[in-house]
Structure formats: structure tokens, C-alpha cells
Amino acid sequence: MRGAVRPRAIARTALACLAALFLTACPFVPLRPAESPSLHLHELADEGDATRRASLRLVLQGLDADMRSDVRRAQGLYARALQVDSSNPYAYLALARHHVAQSDPQRAFDHLVRARDLLDAYELMSPRVEVHLVGLRGNVLQLEGREVEAQALLVRAARGAPDVWSDATLSASELR
């Protein structure tokens, strides 16, 4: 009889220990972060075929260069990304952001339209990427001096993705 009780006690003790260990370790277990309401391009690094992936990696390198304020290198890398895959909508999106940062509204707008068309056509449009299109369009209007229209769009972007657009700008690191 006593021999039968002992294994159960051992099992209970083991379970208790495991539970204690779990509770202790819980704070250190990395939880999957909640999905940001806006798109970060590094999330797409493994999507698409080899050509699209290579192109996207060059876009990410371009954003890295933009983060270092290495404007010309960034432009070169975006050009390389389009050389690999000229239909990559994210390359045009990054270029639109780049030209907004360079205060070049015309080029920014052209690239923004291109990005939107390709996202639409490839059925890649989602609220997470659309929020960037809305915000960047607001930035373009701002650069053109159309402040009232710009604010309407920037408020919309900030509501959609406050983590990124609350300051009404999209930095290279935020897009990355």
C-alpha cells in the first residue's frame, strides 16, 4: 500500500516543481509581440520568390543606409532593388519615403502612386500598408503647402498606426 502511495507523491512533487519553475520563468519567456498596426518591411524578408526576396533585402539595406543618413548609398540600393525586381511595390514605397525625407514631393508622389498601383495589382494591399500610403500622401501634400488636406490624412494615419504616425512622419527605421 505504502509502495503505491509513494509514486503518486513523487509525481505530485514533480508537478509542483514544474509549476513553480514555469511561474518563475514566465516573465523571461519572450511573448510574441502584438502585431503592429503598420507594416514593417523586414517582416516580408522571407516572402515571395528568390528574386523578390533578393530585391527586398536590397530595399532593407537601402533603409539601413537612410537610417545612417547615407542618402546616395540608399538611392543606389533602391535602384539595385528595382534592377532585380522592377515590380517590387515595397521598393517604390521606400523610395517615396526617401523622397519625402529629401523634400522632393513630385518624385515622392510618383513613387507613391507606383507603389499603390502595384500593391493593388498584386493584391498585397492591406490596412497595415495602406496606412503608410495615407501618411506619405499627407507628407507630400504638406511639402506642396496644402496643409489642411495634409492634416486630414496625417490624422487618419496617426489613428490607424499611432506607434508610427503619431509624429506625422515615417522614419526609415519605422518602415524597416
Partner: protein
């Protein structure tokens, strides 16, 4: 007597002053004119790429990379290739704004694919690496001299030692002329009974090359000596030595003279001067005496013997240790593979020159030493040149009479390729042989466009302007006889087969290239509207507003046709044609940068419908031959054959590439075959080579396009019970009202009834 001496002295002084002026003008101005060079776009290598199709070995060879046997680490500019991996130490790419560092990488191969790329020694995976742009050519002046300038502090000391050891061992101490050397040379020549040895110092050689003719007269020798003394008096030894290293003639590449050690290092060893080994430096110093006579390409054994002699001199003069001497003598002669002259890119070089003419005149391009980074894809250029050459030869084999014409009146052709989304010119072959004719038929010629113009008519009819479009892809067109009155009398178009086809579906009308149906459609929508569409798509040539415009009577340049089809392929966005990425001047500054530019000129829906129509032409119509070699994937295409088969056109595009082929005679006359036989195979061979037989991607369908089943015979919307059906594309809001099977009531009424119930 005294007076005579005075006059002579005065004349000599005047002469010296004049020589001094000449020396100063040369040394204090731009010492060297450096031809501007043109480079291809860089090659981007990434996992998933087919290295065989890329011709990775060929690229490495053209860039002067040297294959070595060992599998471990390799120095810059070398690679080791085994069955499953390539270890290559990529050279740095020097560019003011987009430099690339030197990289030691391993490419793991799986079959014909690159499986991964790792940076060594860390093993870190890389997404992509860039191979430096390939030189395509240069703009030379009349002297056709090519040089790459080097600074004295850039070249390895052993190169200077090798040159001084063999050419002027007392350079550091003499005043421009070396009396001991002259005496020694005179003695040697007297003993030999002929001129065997020269007594010229480096400074004298430099003076001779800079200012004097090669004649051997006393006056010229005196002038050389005086000028050498002036140069030494005015400039320091380092300046003189640097000028010498950049000036000296070191061989020939075709008709181009190679000057200076910078250029020679590339020619003989495929590397920069700073990377030269002791043995390589000794070889270059060895050939100064007679670059062509001692050429290592022509006579490697003689060149090696002479190199070893230079190494011996270096050792004897204390410029090289015994160990270094022994190692250098052991080094085998490893020359760079001779890179073919980029002859097939010369039409492209001419186009660039015309485009740059506003900023840089021809003499400036020959002197300014610009580095021009172009958009040309060297691989596609080679494929295009080969496809055109073989395609025209095939026509001549089929029709031997064509081959009998003299060289300047033979059948001609051209091919231009562009990236539709960005407008980058990727390949341009303006004729079958640049040596025979420099006229570029893709950018300088305008020829009747024939049926390649027809899609512009269909686009004008498909485009909703101020309401519903004139047609949808389900519409049917009237192909019955047509007569249009014109100021020069009635115009009666005929079909290629001589038949009329009553009523034909829109797709069939374009797929079989029916003239009458197209001409009638153009009449209905108006020629002005057709011309407007052509203009918006990118056609710049004059467009006569006559009924026959619809059938391609306008004379167009192939390059503008390429741009117009690029606009269709990129969803209605017209790209600005790009040939140059940027220009870097001699000082290393970016002086000009071309940027992407595009404009939406057609709504994406209409562009998609046009693309779909042209896909039909490639899949079922007159261009179906593009698939005969097994080419798979999305392709849109159109043939064009003008009256009496004088001009053969073929335009085809994939999501990433648009290419136009034209074949004909410079003075128009019948070729004797239609486009599908003459021009289409050239396009097919080019694209098969470019894509490896499988076209990547797809033409993206914009959201405002609906795909709906129709009854093919009537164009009515197919419902359940319709005996025959196929899917068709429509702009939203343009679905046919008619249905199949038609209900007891009128079909429109039935549809309304159906909608009420859905």
C-alpha cells in the same frame, strides 16, 4: 667673332625660353587627356539565381578575376571553383556614392542554382552581392590612347623599383641626363657596331613622348636633353616619375594604344596597379623597351626571360632581397584572359554620346576622364547581338539571293530591349555589323510600323473616355469590305489573307491582325483619338491623321515602339527612357545623376485589357511562334509586316522585359518573308536566352478588372446552361447585358429580373 657668339648665345637663350614655355604649358595644364569610359550596369548575384544562365564564369573572366586551384581563402580578384561551391574574393567597387567593399564570399551551388551566399570568414549569410560594372568602351580622341591614371603613392614600391632598375638606375641623382649612362651606351654601341643601347634617362623618355617626334637627329637629341634639364630644374623627382608612369606606352588592345601602368595592369593582369606583385611589376617594366615585340601574349617565354632579367637587376641593385627575388622568379606567368572589345555595344556608346552631346562635346569626352555608369545589361547585350546576327543569317540561308548583295546593301536589322517599369535601356544592337555601318536602325531610323501600331487603336476603343468604352473584350467587330473617302480618293483596306471575315470577336481581330476590322474601328472612334493614345504611350514621331494611320502607315523608330509597349506592360505608366545611372568625373565626384521618372498615361484597367489582348496574340495569334521553342510564362506580343514585306517588326514583352526587333533593308525593298518568319525568331532566341525558357512573374490584374464567363460566339454573359463558355476580362461596370442562354424575355430584361432576385 664676339658678335657672332653673342648672337648665337642670344638665339640659344631664346630657344631655351621657348622650350621652357612649352614644358610649363604641358606640366601645369591638364597633363593627360583621359578618355571617358562607359560601364555596364553591375551584376547582382543572389540565392536562387541560375549561375549558368547568368554566365557567372564569363563575367568573372571579363572582369579579370583569375581562377586558382586551392579551395581556401583567395586574394582579391581571384576565385576557386569546385563542384558545389565557388569561393571568390570580390574586388572593391570604387564609386563616390555607392561604393562596395572588397568581399571574400562563398557561393554554394545546387545544380545550376546558387543556393546561398556567405561572407567569409564569418560565414554570415548574404542576401545579394554586386559584381562591379563591366567596361563597355571609351570615347577616344584621334590618338586612340587609353590610360588609367595612377598616383605615385598608390603604386606598390616594387613597381617603381622595377622600372628604375631597368630604365634608369641613377634617376634619383642625375639632373635629367646621365653622362655615365650615355658614355656606357656609346661604348656598347661602338663595340657592337650598331645602336644596341640607349642612354636616355626616364626624364628624357618622358620629354620625348610628351613633346618630340621619334626622328633621330642631332637637333632633336639636343632639344631632348635641354628639355630634360628644364623639367628637372622646374619639377621634383616624384612629379616626373608619376608622369612617366602614366605616359609610357605599354602595348595595344586592338586599335587602342595602352599608356601607363594603371591601364597596363588591367590589360595584362586584370587588376589595378596597386595590386601588382613583384613578378608582375617586373614584367611590365620589362616590356617598356618593346611592348609589342616582348608582348607576353605573343611570346610568353621571351617575356618571362626579360622579366627575370629585370628581377636580377633589382636584386643586384639592392632593390629586392634574395628571397623576394627567388619567389618572384618562381611565379608563373598568369595573364588575364583577353577581354573582347565590346564591339557589340558600340551602337549603345554612340547613342550615349549623342545624348551627352548637350553637356559634353566629343573632344571633352575624349579628354575629361569621366566614368559613365550606364544601364546596359552586358549579358542581354551579348544575347541580343547574337540573336540578331544568327536570325538575319537564317533569313539569308532561307533566301540565298539576299546574301548576294554587297556588304553595305545587305539585309539589316536591330534589336532594342528595355525594362518596362523603369525605362532602363538594357540592350541595343543598331545593325548587324558596326564596322560596316554605324547607322543605328533602332534609334535613328524611322520605318513604317505596320501592324505593331494596331494595339493603339484597340486601346483607344477600350478606354472609357467620358462614359462607356466603345468596345469590351467580348465585343464583335465588322470585318466586311470598307471604303473610306479621302482627298486622294476612296481608301479600301484589305486583309493580309485577301479575305473578309464578316463579324469577328475583338480578340480574333487582333490575334489574326485583321486590317479591315481595325480600320473600321479606328474610323468609329476617330483617328485623332488613336493618335492621342499613341502619343500618350510614348510615340514622338509625326503621326499623319489619315485613315491608314490605324494600320501603321506612320514611320516610327523601334526605340519609341519599345517605350510605348513598355507603357502597356507596366500597367499604363509611361517610363522615361534611361541609359545612364550616373557620371563620375576625374576627381571622383558625381557630376550627373539620372533618376527614375514615370507618368501614368493610361488607366491600369485599360492597360491590363490591352495586355490580355496581346497575350492572346502570343498564345494563339500571329505571334504564337514565340512558344515554339517551349518558352513558358506570361508574354504579350505583336507582329508587324508592312506592304510587300519591306519592314518586319516584332514587339514582345514580359512583366520584366520589352524587346523590339526590326528587320529590313536600309533602302526599303521586299525581304520576302513575313515578320513571323523573319523577326519573331530573333525575339524568341533573345528572350529564351534572357529568361532560360521560363518567364518569371505575371501581369498584375488591377482590382477594377472583373473576370466573367462569356459565350464566345455571341459575347453574351454565360449563365448556367450556356452550351459554351470561356472567361473574359472587363472593366468594372462594362459587363455585357446579354446573357446566354437567353431567357423567354428579352435578355436585358431577364438580366434585370435576375439582378432583382440576387
Amino acid at each position: 667673332m664676339l658678335c657672332g657668339a653673342f648672337v648665337a648665345g642670344f638665339a640659344l637663350a631664346g630657344w631655351v625660353v621657348e622650350l621652357d614655355r612649352i614644358v610649363r604649358d604641358r606640366f601645369e595644364g591638364a597633363v593627360f587627356g583621359v578618355p571617358s569610359r562607359v560601364y555596364s550596369a553591375p551584376t547582382i548575384v543572389y540565392p536562387g539565381l541560375d549561375w549558368k544562365r547568368l554566365d557567372l564564369r564569363g563575367i568573372l573572366a571579363r572582369l579579370g578575376y583569375r581562377e586558382v586551384g586551392r579551395a581556401g581563402a583567395v586574394p582579391p580578384g581571384q576565385y576557386a571553383w569546385d563542384a558545389h561551391r565557388v569561393r571568390v574574393h570580390l574586388r572593391a567597387f570604387e564609386h563616390p556614392s555607392r561604393p562596395e567593399p572588397a568581399r571574400d564570399v562563398v557561393l554554394r551551388l545546387s545544380g545550376s542554382q546558387i543556393a546561398s551566399i556567405a561572407s567569409m570568414p564569418s560565414g554570415r549569410e548574404l542576401g545579394a552581392v554586386l559584381l562591379e560594372p563591366e567596361p563597355l568602351g571609351a570615347y577616344y580622341g584621334p590618338s586612340r590612347e587609353q590610360r588609367e591614371l595612377v598616383r605615385l603613392d598608390e603604386v606598390p614600391p616594387h613597381l617603381v623599383d622595377a622600372v628604375l632598375a631597368v630604365e634608369d638606375q641613377r634617376f634619383a641623382s642625375h639632373p635629367g641626363i646621365d653622362l655615365r649612362r650615355i658614355a656606357g651606351a656609346m661604348l656598347a654601341n661602338l663595340q657592337a657596331g650598331s645602336i644596341r643601347q640607349g642612354g636616355s634617362t626616364l626624364t628624357q623618355q618622358l620629354v620625348k613622348n610628351f613633346f618630340l617626334t621619334p626622328e633621330r637627329t642631332f637637333r632633336r637629341k639636343l632639344q631632348e636633353a635641354l628639355m630634360a634639364l628644364i623639367v628637372e630644374a622646374r619639377y621634383d623627382k616624384a612629379q616626373i616619375l608619376e608622369s612617366y608612369l602614366n605616359e609610357i606606352y605599354l602595348g595595344q588592345r586592338g586599335s587602342t594604344a595602352i599608356h601607363g601602368f594603371g591601364e597596363a595592369a588591367h590589360l595584362y593582369f586584370g587588376k589595378s596597379a596597386r595590386e601588382l606583385t613583384v613578378a608582375e611589376s617586373a614584367l611590365l617594366a620589362a616590356i617598356i623597351q618593346s611592348p609589342n615585340g616582348i608582348s607576353p601574349y605573343r611570346d610568353p617565354e621571351r617575356a618571362t626571360r626579360r622579366r627575370d632579367l629585370v628581377l636580377d637587376l633589382m636584386r643586384d641593385q639592392g632593390r629586392l632581397s634574395e628571397t623576394g627575388h627567388a619567389e618572384a622568379r618562381e611565379e608563373p606567368l598568369r595573364l588575364a584572359s583577353v577581354t573582347p572589345d565590346a564591339g557589340d555595344a558600340r551602337y549603345f556608346l554612340d547613342l550615349l554620346q549623342r545624348q551627352l552631346a548637350e553637356t559634353y562635346a566629343a573632344p571633352e569626352l575624349a579628354q575629361e576622364g569621366l566614368r559613365i555608369y550606364s544601364t546596359l545589361d552586358r549579358r542581354l547585350q551579348t544575347l541580343a547581338a547574337r540573336a540578331l546576327e544568327e536570325g538575319i543569317a537564317a533569313i539569308e540561308r532561307r533566301l540565298p539571293r539576299l546574301a548576294e548583295a554587297p556588304a553595305d546593301r545587305r539585309l539589316q536589322g536591330c534589336l532594342v530591349a528595355m525594362r518596362p517599369q523603369t525605362g532602363e535601356l538594357l540592350a541595343l544592337v543598331g545593325g548587324r555589323d558596326y564596322r560596316v555601318s554605324q547607322f543605328d536602325r533602332c534609334t535613328q531610323a524611322r520605318r513604317q510600323s505596320g501592324s505593331v501600331f494596331k494595339p493603339f487603336v484597340f486601346i483607344a476603343a477600350l478606354e472609357p473616355v467620358g462614359g462607356a468604352p466603345r468596345i469590351t473584350l467580348a465585343s464583335r467587330l465588322d470585318d466586311a469590305p470598307l471604303s473610306v473617302s479621302t482627298p486622294s480618293g476612296p481608301w479600301r483596306p484589305r486583309n493580309y489573307d485577301g479575305e473578309y471575315h464578316d463579324v469577328v470577336p475583338v480578340r480574333e481581330a487582333l490575334e489574326r491582325s485583321f486590317n479591315v476590322a481595325t480600320a473600321r474601328l479606328a474610323q468609329e472612334i476617330g483617328i485623332r483619338r488613336v493618335a492621342d493614345v499613341a502619343r500618350r504611350l510614348g510615340i514622338e514621331s509625326p503621326l499623319p491623321l489619315v485613315p491608314s494611320l490605324a494600320l501603321g502607315t506612320a514611320e516610327l523608330a523601334p526605340v519609341e515602339v519599345a517605350r510605348a509597349y513598355a507603357t502597356i506592360a507596366s500597367g499604363g505608366v509611361r517610363p522615361r527612357m534611361q541609359t545612364v545611372e550616373d557620371l563620375v568625373d576625374r576627381a571622383g565626384e558625381v557630376v550627373e545623376r539620372r533618376r527614375l521618372g514615370f507618368e501614368r498615361v493610361l488607366d491600369p484597367g485599360t492597360a491590363y485589357l490591352a495586355t490580355s489582348l496581346l497575350e492572346g496574340v502570343a498564345n494563339r495569334g500571329t505571334a504564337a511562334g514565340v512558344r515554339s521553342g517551349g518558352l513558358r510564362g506570361p508574354i504579350g506580343a505583336k507582329t508587324g509586316t508592312t506592304d510587300e514585306e519591306r519592314d518586319l517588326w516584332f514587339v514582345g514583352f514580359t512583366p520584366d522585359l520589352v524587346a523590339v526587333v526590326w528587320v529590313g533593308f536600309d533602302e526599303p525593298r521586299s525581304v520576302g518573308v513575313p515578320s513571323s518568319v523573319g523577326a519573331l525568331p530573333i525575339w524568341r532566341h533573345f528572350v529564351e536566352g534572357a529568361t532560360g525558357g521560363v518567364v518569371r512573374g505575371r501581369f498584375p490584374r488591377p482590382p477594377l478588372i472583373e473576370r466573367v464567363a462569356i459565350h464566345p460566339a455571341t459575347g453574351a454573359r454565360a449563365l448556367a446552361g450556356c452550351p459554351e463558355r470561356r472567361d473574359e476580362y472587363f472593366l468594372r461596370g462594362t459587363l455585357p447585358d446579354e446573357v446566354c442562354p437567353s431567357g423567354p424575355r428579352g435578355s436585358s430584361e431577364f438580366l434585370r429580373w435576375l439582378r432583382r432576385r440576387l
